[in-house]
């Protein structure tokens, strides 16, 4: 996907512009917030309710979204935005999500050790010895510094580890 050739100039100039898309997304977001906000009372001007300021802000976001879309004709074409790193970014986010899920279940040291083994061994294909040394070293030392020396509580998991 990333290495695909540049689209022809004419095609690019007539394609969807990035700011047009951004503006429309902002507009949709504003609409969604207005809808969510409808359950809170707006109050009166003399006594504004909890829904008053969020409504003002959502309306402001909608107006700016429209303006971004309206003036976005000269912005970069959507197809010109390169996503070369997107696949790896998704892998990173999924790995972080798994670590977050595991953190309180199996404890900080084990989950961070597994997380680093995955990145260094599977994603970066580093040699086993440095990979294991870095993974074990980082998880143990960072736990010691943060939890023991600085006194910030970190999850230990069912095995107290």
């Amino acid at each position: 996907m990333a290495e695909s050739s540049e689209p022809p100039q004419q095609e690019v100039s007539s394609s969807l512009k990035s700011d047009r898309v951004s503006g429309l997304v902002l507009l949709v977001l504003a609409g969604w917030i207005v809808w969510l906000n409808s359950e809170f009372p707006l109050g009166t001007l003399a006594d504004p309710g909890p829904g008053y300021v969020p409504l003002l802000l959502a309306l402001g976001l909608g107006v700016i979204g429209l303006l971004v879309a309206f003036f976005g004709g000269d912005s970069e074409p959507l197809r010109a935005i390169r996503w070369t790193e997107a696949r790896r970014a998704v892998v990173i986010l999924i790995a972080c999500a798994v670590l977050t899920f595991a953190l309180e279940r199996i404890g900080y040291r084990l989950s961070v050790f597994a997380f680093l083994v995955f990145f260094l061994g599977v994603v970066e294909r580093k040699k086993p010895v440095p990979m294991l040394l870095v993974s074990a070293g980082f998880s143990i030392v960072s736990f010691h510094v943060v939890a023991v020396m600085l006194g910030v509580p970190l999850p230990r998991g069912p095995w107290g580890f």
């Binding site: 700011d19 917030i33 909890p50 971004v68 999500a97």
Partner: protein
């Protein structure tokens, strides 16, 4: 003046207490390392250290975090000059001529001038902070809810006008941040808003998960799959001394950058980033040989480096005097002080003189420590850059998750951080500036409270903002800025950004 001097002496007594001094040095060293690491800017560094400060004395906490902040400013310049990698966004301009000087075999003088300029600028900034903050604080005692509403709104418009990217997109991001600030229990009525049934969101969204997600995680996502950085050079100590001509050429840019940086630093926005861009543009414009810029002009290092350090200090003026953050870094630092039950604002200097003057004095000390530490130890520090990025980024990610979790021992914060990381990644792909989101998040509850109090005070009329002279002045200024900012959008004309060569948003 005598009173200021006496207060400063009291501050030095605090700053030279062994524990405070030790933490100031530790902050400077950590900051230098953080500034050098790609993916860990000052904001992410401060956010990650924040939980560790909860158990510390408030003075030590703020001294440590401030040390990290200006240490990161110093550190960022090292990677920019030696490797053309800005450790943090404010060092982008230093890359241009700093790296060109490295290629010309003048890395040492570039590093030395950057350090000397940063020291001078830091000192100018601290003097400015010392003189301005108490005056501003006593003026701000006259502020009521309408003045605060006007001030916060004006700040957002200044932020939009001064931002590196599109004004409309910056305003959109500021509103997005303000809306994030609406999440949680409404303090005036007790309603829980936009929490989606999650009890953890009752207290709102924290600045740390948002800041680390937007600036730390998204940076790593953007950098994923990039080529390995170039090999690093290690200049020797004797190679650091600039020539007489290089000194002569640097004096003007250092002075101008320091003054310009401080003035821009007080204004909301990515001040330290903007100041370095503006300073570079000014120096190029003032130079008799602008063609040298981009090919190793030392003025292109001296000006921006001085400006970003001075701006970093200037940002503390509204933070300490008004209790209003001008950027995400000061927002996190306000959170750090508030954890200890101290409210930054006009009363801070009166009620907590040891904290304010101790902080000011420790900044003098910190600047000196950085100058003494960084130049001789630059060879040692750059060893860090030899760690392959493949080993570095998984550890930074683990640190981010650790930092996100440890603020309130909540996995929900880590999920928010990852979500903000993904959102930040997409926003950067679409050229949105991220700083206004973090700033809006902190300003949101303040703005809402002051607006609703103003309306209640006035019996429900917006005319209250026109009847109060200070509020009216601020609104007029805000409208003026809005008009100035909209002019280039409506008429497709050039604005100040194109004059200083600032075309892309500074990211973070």
């Amino acid at each position: 003046m005598v009173e200021t001097f006496n207060s400063l002496m009291m501050g030095f007594a605090v700053a030279f207490e062994p524990r405070v001094f030790m933490y100031a040095v530790a902050g400077c060293v950590i900051g230098t390392l953080v500034g050098m690491l790609p993916g860990l800017g000052p904001l992410a560094g401060i956010s990650l250290l924040l939980p560790a400060t909860f158990g510390l004395d408030p003075i030590i906490a703020i001294v440590l975090l401030a040390g990290v902040y200006y240490g990161a400013m110093y550190g960022g310049s090292t990677t920019s000059i030696l490797m053309r990698i800005p450790g943090e966004a404010a060092s982008v301009m230093t890359c241009v001529d700093g790296y060109a000087m490295t290629q010309n075999g003048r890395a040492g003088p570039a590093l030395a001038i950057a350090a000397i300029g940063s020291f001078f600028a830091g000192t100018v900034g601290v003097i400015g902070l010392m003189l301005m903050a108490p005056t501003l604080a006593s003026f701000a005692l006259r502020f009521g809810p309408p003045e605060y509403t006007a001030l916060l709104l004006m700040g957002l418009f200044v932020l939009a006008y001064m931002s590196g990217g599109s004004m409309l997109k910056t305003l959109a991001m500021a509103i997005f941040g303000l809306l994030l600030g609406m999440i949680g229990i409404d303090v005036m009525t007790g309603y829980t808003r936009f929490s989606f049934g999650l009890v953890e969101l009752g207290d709102g969204v924290g600045i740390v998960p948002v800041a680390v997600g937007l600036f730390g995680i998204s940076e790593i996502l953007i950098a994923a799959g990039q080529a390995e950085p170039p090999k690093v050079q290690r200049p020797k100590l004797r190679e650091l001394i600039p020539s007489r001509e290089e000194f002569r050429l640097s004096v003007g840019p250092i002075i101008r950058g320091s003054l310009l940086g401080f003035a821009i630093g007080i204004i909301p926005g990515s001040a330290h980033v903007i100041s370095s861009f503006v300073s570079y543009g000014v120096e190029r414009r003032l130079s008799k040989h602008p063609e040298r810029f981009g090919k190793g002009a030392i003025e292109g290092v001296a000006g921006p480096e001085s400006a970003n350090n001075s701006a970093a200090t200037g940002a503390f003026v509204p933070m300490l005097a008004l209790g209003i953050p001008t950027g995400p870094v000061t927002a996190v630092m306000i959170a750090a002080i508030m954890v200890h039950g101290i409210l930054p604002g006009p009363m801070l200097i009166e009620q907590q003189p040891e904290l304010f003057w101790g902080f000011v004095a420790s900044m003098y000390v910190g600047n000196l420590v950085l100058l003494i530490l960084n130049l001789p130890m630059v060879g040692l520090f750059v060893n860090l850059l030899r760690i392959p990025y493949a080993y570095l980024y998984p550890c930074i990610l683990a640190f981010c998750i650790l930092g996100g979790y440890s603020v309130s021992n909540s996995v929900t914060d880590v999920w928010i951080m990852l979500g903000m990381g993904a959102i930040g990644y997409l926003l950067r792909k679409f050229s949105f500036d991220l700083a206004p989101v973090a700033l809006g998040l902190v300003l949101g509850p303040m703005l809402e409270l002051s607006l609703r109090q103003s309306l209640a005070l006035s019996g429900g009329t917006y005319a209250i903002f026109l009847q109060r002279p200070i509020a009216l002045t601020m609104f007029v200024l805000a409208l003026l800025l809005l008009a100035l900012a909209l002019k280039p959008v409506m008429f497709k004309s050039k604005d100040w950004r194109s004059n200083v060569g600032l075309e892309d948003p500074p990211g973070s």
